[in-house]
């Protein structure tokens, strides 16, 4: 049974696995069933996504979690107010290093166990060894300055006593070029989503040393960004889209659909990469390099654990990291913009008619949940995943000044 399309929506996406919920919403007919004619347009850079949403080519887009904040805060060359009514999933990234760096880390106690603290300590010791012999800084790549990748890599390094501003160089490389740049020696390591970590392992040119879900459990990654003016003028279209994405996300989470989803994403119009290379992100079973393997629980979560809820605490954590690394000044005005960017109210309004369980709060204390915890209103059951940071720190969005102050003082070692 399908309705005739009453809402036309154009969405931009980047060829990355975490566009899956958006892609499946169209391809599996979830959008059509909500009366949405969803047009998908693949892009080649986040800058293009930002520009096209700003001038109205796209209504909504697959975006890096911090990107709508950067747009709304005016940090980008062509900025427009962007809101986040939906998260496209949790987790999904890894940190991968070259064989040479892995050798250096292993000599300082790193083991193929993905333990962020152990790996970070070994990397720090290796970096200071190199510095003592006057060797140039290691160069790590991330996909974009305003990305979860950049902020989680910096968080990990800083928490392990490595100053990301002075003891390492961080550059930008597009995801599909990461493995090649590593193999060619242009970079020494990187933080990126799958399949671009497994690609380096498969090529024999990289080792995965840690993963996002171990740095910060069930942490935010990509989101749906909507042009604020469009969202305000088209509340019904947006709500219909969010319901379609909700059904699509549930389908993507179902283990029984993994091979179908991998085959869909493998198509040339989406990722154009073989289905087999899509499986690690779905199963969490990773080859780390050198024959080591690990299965990471909740490696990528497209639906469960309230994965689609746009927590204000996620946006505010990104904001604290923007402040920490000098992207923006911490002022009441900027804080207010960051607080208003993620919109759980829009998510709730759209999903309420479905009678599904919804979190009662708009924000949570990140790092407070040590184990899966049932929550939720409306009678139906909802389980939140643990949300701890690997260094045991807690981010309380109500104590944002103290959090920012504590990180500032901890940044520069003397």
């Amino acid at each position: 049974m399908s309705m005739t399309a009453v809402h036309q929506i154009t969405a931009g996406f980047m060829p990355l696995f975490d566009s899956a919920v958006l892609v499946a919403a169209r391809e599996l007919g979830f959008a059509a069933r909500e009366g949405v004619e969803l047009k998908l347009q693949r892009e080649t850079s986040w800058a293009n996504i930002r520009d096209r949403i700003a001038i109205g080519h796209f209504d909504v887009a697959h975006m890096l979690g911090p990107m709508p904040l950067a747009c709304s805060l005016g940090l980008t060359p062509l900025a427009s107010d962007t809101v986040v009514p939906f998260s496209l999933g949790l987790g999904g990234n890894c940190v991968t290093v070259s064989n040479a760096v892995w050798g250096g880390m292993a000599a300082h106690g790193a083991e193929a166990d993905l333990d962020p603290a152990r790996a970070g300590a070994a990397l720090g010791a290796f970096i200071r060894d190199r510095a003592a012999t006057g060797r140039e800084l290691l160069r790590f790549a991330v996909v974009h300055p305003h990305s979860g990748h950049n902020y989680e890599l910096r968080y990990w390094l800083a928490a392990c006593g490595i100053d990301p501003e002075r003891e390492i160089e961080i550059v930008i490389v597009p995801p599909p070029f990461m493995a090649d740049a590593l193999a060619a020696g242009r970079i020494d390591g990187y933080c990126v989503g799958e399949p671009w970590n497994s690609a380096a392992v498969a090529a024999g040119t990289g080792h995965i040393v840690t993963v996002k879900p171990l740095l910060w459990k069930n942490s935010p990654e990509k989101v749906i960004g909507a042009r604020k003016a469009w969202a305000e003028e088209n509340p019904q279209a947006l709500a219909a889209l969010l319901r379609a994405l909700h059904h699509s996300a549930r389908w993507c989470q179902d283990a029984g659909n993994r091979s179908d989803l991998a085959a869909l994403m493998a198509e040339p119009r989406f990722l154009g990469q073989p289905p087999a290379i899509q499986m690690p992100v779905l199963t969490g079973h990773l080859h780390l390099g050198g024959g080591a393997e690990r299965t990471v629980e909740d490696f990528f979560v497209p639906f469960d654990k309230a994965a689609n809820f746009p927590w204000k605490s996620h946006a505010l954590w990104f904001y604290t990291q923007m402040v920490r690394w000098g992207d923006i000044a911490h002022t009441p005005r900027n804080l207010a913009i960051a607080r208003d960017c993620y919109r759980p109210d829009l998510y709730r309004a759209a999903l309420k008619p479905l009678g599904v369980a919804l979190p009662g709060a708009n924000a949570k204390v990140e790092g407070a949940l040590k184990a899966a915890t049932p929550v939720g209103s409306a009678g139906a059951s909802l389980v939140l995943g643990p949300d701890g940071f690997f260094d045991g720190q807690i981010f309380d969005p109500d104590k944002i000044d103290a959090y920012i102050a504590s990180q500032k003082s901890g940044l520069l070692r003397t």
Binding site: T44, A47, D51, L78, H144, P145, V171, P174, P176
Partner: protein
Amino acid sequence: MVRSPLAVLVIDENRIRASIIEAGLREAGHERVTIIHDVIGIARRIAEIEPDVIVIDLENPNRDMLESMFQLSRAVRRPIAMFVDRSDKASIEAAVDAGVSAYVVDGLRQERVKPILDMAVSRFNAFSRMARELEEVRGELENRKVIDRAKGILMKSRGLSEEAAYTLLRKTAMNQNRKISDIAQSLVTAAGLLGPMGDE
């Protein structure tokens, strides 16, 4: 006061398009134009060139890298903004529609930069038109080849003259409300499946 000529950097992996833009800029009197096709080692090049205006095609997957370099590194002397005036929405839309993005160092006056951007936009549009026409010609040639092969199959298998073979294709296409090239393609595919007839 004599104004120093603007240094313009064009970053485009498409060599033909880059040279079309370069020619346009030179015709307009811009002597300090540099073209870069490959972004590896580009930071050093930019530091040497010290561009006032940078033009990049939107298809370039390295846009994020380049943009962060303009904003964060010391490769460019002064901060760079996209276009000159953010409020000039029409220009921005025209550029994005044409597939161009442009970055301009802070402090340049709009009237100095606008002609450069307009030039880039019109040359990009001209190039897209050319590419589209070329694509159409290519498609036309492909169609003609398939029709020739289909005619050959009909002539061989049914002993028809070339003209009769073509008439048969045309009539079938008309009856089924499809293009001749589609009918021809179906025939070629079917012949290939059926064996020795379609042995190519």
